[in-house]
């Protein structure tokens, strides 16, 4: 007789397999490793799990484990445990008790964020204890569905991905770390199932339905067939997504666009490449400059830039020079108090106050180009007129004098200030490439603060004024014979991407998470349909009307 248990749908998909019961390791009396050695080994294991997640593109999940690696080496935990060992305790008991003490302290602070960390501390302490007694990490012997009260993220990440078919937990909510990780790793999961362990531990077979939030214990033949068909559907969806990653970005009739990735940090490069990026259309280098009292020095910058260039090899990487301003309150920026920092001394304008800040960055970029033998693309943000283009050329020339034998950088500008649209013909003749930043262009063109919720209608980049401006920039680039890209959010928006293709934009650069949606949308329309839509959107009365036209086209094409 089968039995159905209801829980919370935590990660989509379905799976059928025997249950595998996870039990947190109990402390033991054996001492294989001393406390400090066990702690260092635990920190190393957590670092490796974090780095595997990061390489697979699961950055937020990797951060959970990175924080745990730091905890494993933490003096507060280790000093407490050392005291317990000195008082005659066994290493494993001592570290688990010390972890429990700290976890209770965090939970008692009556703070939701810190309470969630309490579970992470307990998990870290148990890992150190397991290593201290010389026990192995839990392994699956065959394809299984893990059942547990709670499954720590570090364990979920550690179990063999090819054997972990599903997860069912008695505790937990959709936002628990276990649920977040299951979604990232595409493992069907149901959590919050009362009575799970009592009923399912002895079962021969369990079925997880992560869409319906249901667990079936010892399913009958009909139930098994139903779950297997759900699992086959989910596998097909996953295969479609994977196949899409290797597909180029093109219209239904085969018109190709270049697909670039927007990245903010060097460790986002490898996942972006794996997701199918043909280059980096926007490297927001300012991330490395934020939250510190001194700017990163030339060597640190060159190291980060080299990593990104190495990862992408021959594919172009566009380095946007630091795009920072007075709103950041960074002590090393040459900016005093400004009434409106978004209209103040920011981005390329900083180079007039403190050329060395930007020259250091340019030298670091050229050095990275030299060590990888690749041509870096450098792009100046907030360019308003030819004076700014002249400034860019002078800076790049000066930096190049200091880095002999480096491949010459390509020089480009970001078009995001309305004056640059007006002057696009002249600017295009003086640079190697242009990229349109639709977020700021919209804000500055419509004089609508992007952060003011009362102005939502004026913040949509599908506004006819923005569409026509992009059209002018594309014309100017074409006349000058240089490539033009869009690296703002409009490119990652399926409706926006179709309009941009219709306008003749050659490259769209976006967050890698938007690749799939944009590829699907563009594949449903022909280039002529995209052109007609671009013309209609450019003449729509407002952004809402333009978006309606785009949605109508996409729905009609998808239905064909």
């Amino acid at each position: 007789m089968s039995e159905r248990l209801r829980g919370v749908a935590a990660a989509p998909g379905a799976a059928l397999a025997p249950p595998w019961r996870y039990r947190p390791p109990s402390a033991g009396r054996v001492v294989r490793h001393g406390l400090d050695e066990a702690a260092a080994l635990a920190a190393g294991e957590l670092e490796r799990l974090a780095s595997a997640l990061r390489l697979a593109g699961n950055q937020p999940e990797a951060e959970i484990l990175e924080a745990q690696a730091l905890m494993a080496a933490d003096e507060t935990l280790l000093a407490d445990a050392r005291g317990r060992v000195a008082a005659g305790g066994f290493v494993a008991d001592a570290v688990v008790q010390a972890g429990e003490q700290i976890a209770q302290g965090l939970a008692a602070l009556d703070d939701e964020l810190l309470a969630a960390r309490a579970a992470d501390v307990r998990d870290v302490a148990r890992r150190i204890a397991r290593i201290a007694v010389g026990a192995e990490a839990p392994r699956l012997a065959r394809r299984s569905i893990a059942i547990a009260d709670d499954l720590p993220p570090s364990i979920t990440a550690e179990l063999q991905r090819d054997l972990l078919a599903g997860i069912a937990l008695e505790a937990g909510s959709r936002t628990a770390h276990a649920a977040i990780l299951a979604r990232a790793l595409r493992i069907p999961a149901v959590v919050g199932i009362p009575g799970l362990l009592e009923r399912a531990t002895a079962a021969r077979l369990v079925a997880v339905d992560g869409d319906a939030g249901e667990l079936i214990i010892d399913p009958g033949p009909d139930e098994r067939a139903a779950v297997e068909s759900l699992a086959a559907d989910a596998a097909r969806r996953a295969a479609d997504d994977a196949a899409l990653a290797t597909q180029p970005l093109k219209t239904r009739d085969g018109h190709r666009l270049t697909l670039g990735a927007n990245i903010g940090r060097q460790n986002e490069a490898a996942p972006a490449l794996a997701a199918g990026a043909e280059g980096v259309g926007l490297f927001r280098t300012e991330f490395m400059f934020m939250g510190r009292s001194r700017a990163p020095d030339e060597g640190e910058q060159a190291g980060a830039y080299t990593t990104v260039l190495e990862t992408f090899g021959e594919r172009p990487v566009v380095f946007r020079l630091i795009d920072l301003g007075g709103d950041k309150d960074l002590p090393y920026l040459p900016v005093g108090h400004e009434a409106n920092p978004f209209l103040g001394v920011r981005a390329i304008r900083l180079a007039r106050q403190d050329p060395e800040l930007v020259l250091t960055q340019l030298r670091a970029i050229l050095r990275a180009g030299r060590s990888t033998r690749t041509v870096p693309w450098v792009m100046a943000p907030m360019v308003a007129d030819e004076d700014d283009v002249q400034l860019l050329h002078e800076l790049v020339d000066r930096a190049a004098d200091a880095v002999p034998d480096a491949p010459a950088a390509r020089r480009g500008i970001m078009v995001e200030i309305p004056s640059a649209v007006t002057l696009a013909d002249d600017l295009a003749r003086r640079v190697d490439f242009m990229s349109i930043g639709t977020n700021d262009l919209t804000q500055y063109l419509l004089a609508a603060d992007r952060t003011n919720p009362a102005l939502a209608d004026q913040q949509d980049a599908l506004h006819p004024a923005v569409i026509r401006s992009i059209g002018r920039v594309v014309e100017a680039a074409r006349a000058a014979g240089i490539p033009v890209a869009v690296c703002g959010e409009l490119g990652g928006d399926p409706a926006g991407a179709v309009v941009l293709a219709g306008l003749g934009v050659e490259e769209l650069s976006m967050e890698p998470s938007s690749f799939g949606g944009v590829k699907r949308a563009l594949a449903t329309v022909t280039l002529d349909q995209a052109r007609d839509l671009a013309i209609a959107a450019a003449h729509a009365p407002d952004a809402r009307a333009a978006r309606r036209l785009a949605d109508e086209l996409l729905q009609a094409s998808a239905a064909e």
Binding site: E63, E66, A67, L70, M71, D74, E75, T76, L77, I102, G105, L106, L109, D111, L113, L114, R117, V121, N262, G264, L282, R284, E286, F287, M290, G291, R292, S293, D323, D327, K328, D329, L330, P331, F342, E416, G437, T438, N439, D440, R450, T451, C487, G488, E489
Partner: protein
């Protein structure tokens, strides 16, 4: 003994990543560094070089922390950490998040 009082302005306080940023910076100095959360409990302090110790002080946005330093590079450490806290510990505020992702 040199000390400095610092208002915490970044949105999630000394939790998680901002705490890690703070602790990693503190660990680069040789001097002894201790933190007290004046807003929550002025009698408890923790090592500024321990992420669990710092998190255990329950520092949220709007709290004021006191930083004590003792040792050769004490003044330098206080200046560096004060600047780091003033710069938001690498955590961008609501408006700045938007700005950080601007294109």
């Amino acid at each position: 003994m040199p000390q400095v009082d610092l208002p915490i302005t970044n949105p999630s306080g000394l939790h998680a990543r901002p705490a890690a940023t703070f602790v990693k910076a503190a660990a680069t100095f040789a001097c002894d560094l201790r933190v007290t959360n004046l807003t929550r409990d002025a009698t408890r302090s923790a090592s500024a070089k321990s992420v669990l110790g710092v998190m255990g002080l329950g520092v949220s946005a709007g709290h004021i922390v006191r930083l004590h330093a003792e040792g050769a590079d004490a003044e330098e450490a206080l200046a560096e950490l004060a600047a780091l806290v003033a710069a938001g510990l690498g955590e961008v505020s609501g408006r700045a998040v938007d700005d950080a992702t601007r294109a």
